[in-house]
């Protein structure tokens, strides 16, 4: 329930142009799959229009899902409302996050001071460097995948790749460890952490590729992590 409110608050801020670029990406992907968020976004817009001089009638029809399919060739995978409200699902998601946090911290017991004071400063500088994207590009080398687009911000780097022959797509991201919450639990099917001379990062791979390929990407990302400048 609290997560739901947080997300809606972000949707409200997005409607006002008050959300950071990085957050926008995550909010967009949440709206794409949640009927409640879609309605909330639509109602914010309609309310705004009604309160200004742009008064007009609305036909309460929804063509968005059909259009999504026609334009992108992909079906919009919107959850059933009951599925979203299920407390069990929320519990599983929360457990999943907790599980990863425990694993990461137990394998890499980083002293608090060194992490907060030294690593995070370096990470801030490194994560937005072209080197971060280079790590991701190198990690997918040999797969014949083409980089489609990427986002390079202070909070992390995310790149979308595509196989030209099959049209299949996948995402690889690299975040400093303190940004673990930025990784969509549903999306990130494989996560690994890498320790470089610049700090600790989380690499995630999701999308339409085999489990072996995902493992291969994570291993290569580890190899190239030291390229972070």
């Amino acid at each position: 329930m609290k997560n739901d409110k947080n997300m809606k608050e972000k949707i409200s801020a997005l409607a006002d142009g008050e959300l950071s670029d990085f957050e926008v990406r995550r909010v967009l992907s949440e709206i794409a799959k949640n009927p409640e968020y879609r309605k909330f976004w639509q109602n914010i817009q309609q309310t705004g229009e009604i309160l200004t001089d742009e008064k007009h009638d609305f036909l309460n029809n929804d063509i968005s899902q059909e259009l999504f399919l026609k334009i992108s060739g992909k079906k919009l995978e919107i959850f059933e409302e009951e599925e979203i409200k299920s407390p069990r699902m929320r519990y599983i998601a929360a457990s999943f996050v907790g599980f990863f946090a425990v694993i990461i911290y137990s394998v890499f017991p980083v002293p608090e001071n060194s992490f907060t004071d030294i690593a995070s400063k370096k990470i801030d500088q490194a994560i937005e460097s072209p080197g971060a994207l280079e790590v991701l590009n190198n990690s997918v080398s040999g797969l014949n995948a083409v980089l489609q687009d990427y986002e390079l911000t202070r909070e992390g780097t995310l790149a979308n790749y595509r196989f030209p022959n099959s049209g299949k797509t996948f995402k690889v991201s690299l975040y400093p460890i303190q940004e673990i919450n930025k990784i969509g639990i549903k999306e990130a099917t494989k996560i690994s952490y890498i320790k470089s001379k610049k700090g600790i990062y989380i690499v995630s791979v999701s999308g339409n590729i085999s489990s072996d390929q995902k493992n291969q990407i994570l291993q290569k990302a580890n190899l190239f992590a030291n390229q972070l400048k």
């Binding site: 926008v24 709206i31 109602n43 036909l59 309460n60 489609q148």
Partner: protein, 205 residues
């Protein structure tokens, strides 16, 4: 249209241009209802109006690269929708002429009656306005101030924070709180309209 709304649209267009369809999806969600309503005024058929708007969005997506980012996305998509609807009427008329269809008095009467028909799923601006204003009245004073400064004055969160002397985060959550309450009222109304619309349809059958 508030300047920031235009800027939000441009941000979404830029993302769509870069291949992020979820950004374009938000523009579709934002404008579909009013565009279908616009197309309906021309074609007088709910299903055809939907088709016109779908076609318009597809056209706009395909030519996004030609969209000038200093102009308004809504004005652009509105123009495409109007032109698509007009072209549909012209081609429909041509088809009728080609088929030598003479409109008999009976047919003419039928078309007239379609023109004055109102789709059951229409939500009038007046109905929605009443619900929204009533919801705003019920807001707490602080929430109401933040919300109206945003929606009516178009101020940024930072400007509002300066005026009401509170952190930007508080402004953001107050505006959200207002929208959440309004959303509840609007959704209840829409659900009852859908329910009513279904009842009317089944009665007609």
């Amino acid at each position: 249209m508030k300047l920031s709304s235009k800027n939000v649209d441009i941000g979404l267009v830029k993302r769509a241009k870069a291949g992020d369809y979820t950004a374009f999806d938000l523009l579709v969600l934002k404008y579909q209802s009013r565009l279908i309503s616009t197309a309906y005024k021309f074609v007088k058929d709910e299903q055809i109006a939907e088709d016109m708007v779908q076609e318009s969005f597809i056209k706009s997506f395909k030519s996004l690269d030609s969209f000038r980012e200093d102009s308004s996305f809504y004005t652009w998509i509105y123009r495409i929708t109007v032109n698509t609807s007009k072209n549909f009427l012209v081609s429909k008329k041509r088809k009728e002429e080609l088929l030598h269809v003479d409109l008999t008095e009976a047919n003419a009467h039928r078309i007239e009656s379609i023109e004055i028909d109102t789709p059951e799923s229409i939500l009038t601006a007046k109905q929605l306005e009443e619900i929204i204003l009533k919801s705003i009245e019920n807001l707490g004073e602080e929430t109401k101030v933040a919300f109206t400064l945003r929606e009516l004055e178009g101020l940024s969160y930072e400007q509002i924070a300066e005026i009401i002397r509170c952190p930007v985060g508080t402004v953001r959550s107050r505006i959200f709180r207002a929208r959440e309450l309004i959303d509840g009222a609007v959704e209840d109304f829409k659900n009852s309209s859908r329910y009513h619309s279904k009842e009317v349809k089944s009665e007609k059958r």
